[in-house]
């Protein structure tokens, strides 16, 4: 970077503008610091609704905001679109693509996680995951093209494979995807096709463990399972997937022919641990100290999905947006305390609850003592998600999109873009 961006005050570099990184920036407003926020994307993404982009319910721009626009009123923050390639903790510099470096007094690493295949990276082309906007538009394209190809296919076996959608992993993302794809096939699409009956599409949710939504209370898992089955989703338990190919999956020793497979079964942290030479768990998550600093580097914080830390009761803090935000807030408080020459208490995670939507009329919410399910839970889920979106415009846009889906079965973003059609020219 140029010297003109090297400030006189305490320099903070924050890597990653997800929930954790952005919250850190917000909570440092007015502090005597100068912040550089680096992300390899130009947008902050509201990941909890990403599955709705993948299923054509929402448009990409409804759940993503330009990072620098969010921080336009903060002259103390410089936003950079750049890819971090490493950290020189001795010289206190972050290395970015193009050979530039960003000097820091305090570093906050909030670089998130990515889906992982447990040693089967070769499955990725056949079973893409869902973490970025591009993942979502890729899945949307695959799902919509499967129906298009089925409409053209006269071979019944091939048509059946095109109309079989497999989701691997029955956590919140897997459950939400399965429910929404079932609704897409059974409610939205039937009047649009002539040669196929999209209501006959199979949606198969495969879970290696014994129940769906393992992070929720037992009774809510049971309810979620019944709701999924009401939507026509087939759920298979206790059968880990042993193979993914272009033609389908193998699980429980049998082969299921399916042209669309979605991976929702596991994540791996960003390479933050490698950059920092820090201890990490099997999923690559940095084991941070109780003040969220990296062992041996009191000037480096790491937060969010890229770290692991024990929560109350000893179980790990879950990789969800509220946890990342709490950590971001804590880091901002700690930096402020240090600048005043004070110490901060260790980080304490407060679990607010778990939410998952199951189709457009049902949800489950686990607040611990209070457990909700069904239509009321769905309304709370919907209002909470609209509330957490940023800005009136996007709240309005998402509310309108949902209104249209719920009243008219009309999904506004059924676009197949990129991919099959040649991009650079319409005709060769």
């Amino acid at each position: 970077m140029t010297t003109e961006s090297a400030p006189a005050s305490h320099r903070i570099v924050i890597v990653g503008a997800g929930f954790g990184g952005l919250e850190t920036v917000y909570r440092l407003a007015g502090a005597p610091v100068s912040i550089t926020l680096v992300d390899r994307r130009n947008h902050h993404l509201f990941q909890p609704l990403l599955y709705q982009v993948a299923t054509a319910a929402l448009a990409t721009s409804e759940i993503a905001w330009p990072i620098r626009y969010l921080l336009r009123g903060r002259p103390d923050v410089t936003t950079l679109l750049a890819t971090v390639t490493g950290v020189d903790t001795t010289a206190r510099r972050v290395l970015i693509d193009g050979g530039d470096t960003l000097p820091y007094d305090t570093l906050v690493v909030a670089t998130g996680a990515r889906h992982a295949y447990f040693g089967h990276d070769e499955w990725e082309p056949f079973a893409p995951g869902l973490k970025t906007l591009e993942d979502a538009t890729t899945l949307r394209r695959r799902i919509l093209i499967a129906f298009e190809d089925a409409e053209r296919e006269s071979d019944l076996a091939r048509r059946a494979a095109l109309l079989t959608f497999v989701i691997i992993g029955a956590g919140p993302t897997g459950v939400e995807l399965a429910g929404t794809i079932a609704e897409l096939a059974h409610d939205t699409l039937p009047p649009d096709f002539r040669n196929i009956d999209t209501r006959k599409a199979r949606v198969v949710l495969i879970e290696a463990g014994p129940r769906v939504l393992a992070g929720f209370a037992d009774e809510l898992s049971t309810y979620a399972l019944r709701s999924l089955e009401d939507l026509g989703v087939e759920v298979a338990f206790g059968q880990p997937v042993t193979e993914c190919t272009a033609d389908g999956v193998v699980f429980g020793g049998r082969k299921l022919e399916a042209k669309t497979i979605i991976w929702a079964a596991g994540v791996r942290a960003s390479p933050a641990a490698e950059w920092l030479g820090a201890p990490a768990d099997r999923a690559g998550r940095v084991s941070v100290l109780p003040d969220l600093t990296v062992p041996g580097h009191p000037d480096v914080f790491a937060i969010g999905d890229t770290v692991t830390i024990a929560g109350p009761g000893g179980s790990p803090v879950p990789g969800i947006a509220p946890a990342a935000k709490q950590q971001g807030r804590y880091v901002a408080q700690t930096i402020r305390a240090r600048l005043r020459g004070e110490k901060n208490v260790p980080f304490v995670y407060r679990h607010a609850g778990n939410l998952a939507q199951i189709g457009k009329r049902s949800a489950v919410i686990d607040f611990g003592r209070i457990k909700l399910r069904g239509a009321l839970a769905w309304w709370i889920w919907g209002v909470a998600h609209i509330y957490f979106l940023i800005g009136l415009r996007n709240r309005l846009a998402v509310a309108i999109s949902w209104l249209w889906i719920y009243t008219r079965q009309q999904r506004g973003a059924r676009l197949i873009t990129q991919g099959r059609a040649k991009v650079s020219n319409y005709w060769p």
Copy 2:
């Protein structure tokens, strides 16, 4: 195709679901025919607002609709996502990708046009055009990344090249792009950047001819030029571009360093003339007969941007949406007449007028005798475009997007997707 889709009634195949093809389908409602509508995209695109997607004002889904959704209430219409590879006019079959064929009694070719480089196809990577949604998101990415890279660039010459935007061709698309990019740079982006002043960005509109908006009356061209200059656009006349590279353009014998170049200077028709062995003009447009059939093939109609035909006064019918729609309506009428054993009168084009927006407060409208410009013209332009959008939802969405831009300088779709960041995995 399978035999199950081969109907007993008069079979019509329509290739292309743009304004012309879709209008033909709409106007054939209730006729004793069975229609197959083929498009290589799954969506109908409202091209007149495509430049607003390219400049981050509108989201892709606000100006595109799934074709089969638009025709869900028409059991007589089968929609196919397929690429036409040729036409066997002897056997009366359309050939599509995958080796399938579509038999027809009447064929309607409405396959549009694509931007063209007048024998300089090698310019395309450096000066992309604007005809498809992918073109628009590609341009959007390039424009937004230019500002991002400028923010990181310390070399002043390179920074200036990053902040120079060249638009080649001053027809409606070029004028609209130039005005909107100038507003983006001068109104929307300034508060978001720290190292650069986006108001210093140069927007250069290069026109080989003697004036902007050559299809409009002289006085409106003059007004449009003044409006563009008020927005800070530099306009260069009478200087054809002789070179496009990754670093800039050469025109009028001088080199202009620019990292973003947009091509809005010419089109070439689809390969319909080749498929049909039909006479065509230099731009590849089929020379159709007065009843819009292809010479020698009375059962084949061709309409829209892929044909050329003389309008009233002998000048060619312009390549605009209303012309394509009139032709689609005419073809539907002719098919209905033929099925009744009657003849139809030759096609007569009625020119309603030309419209172009110049930034967010001004437009020019040439109705022939009535000429409008300025704020009133802008309001008519805006209302007309919202009216011609399909469906309440998109009208609402576009109106909200424009409201936000006009009251808050906030563009809702400033997303950089695909391209630079790796798509398949966040980390190598």
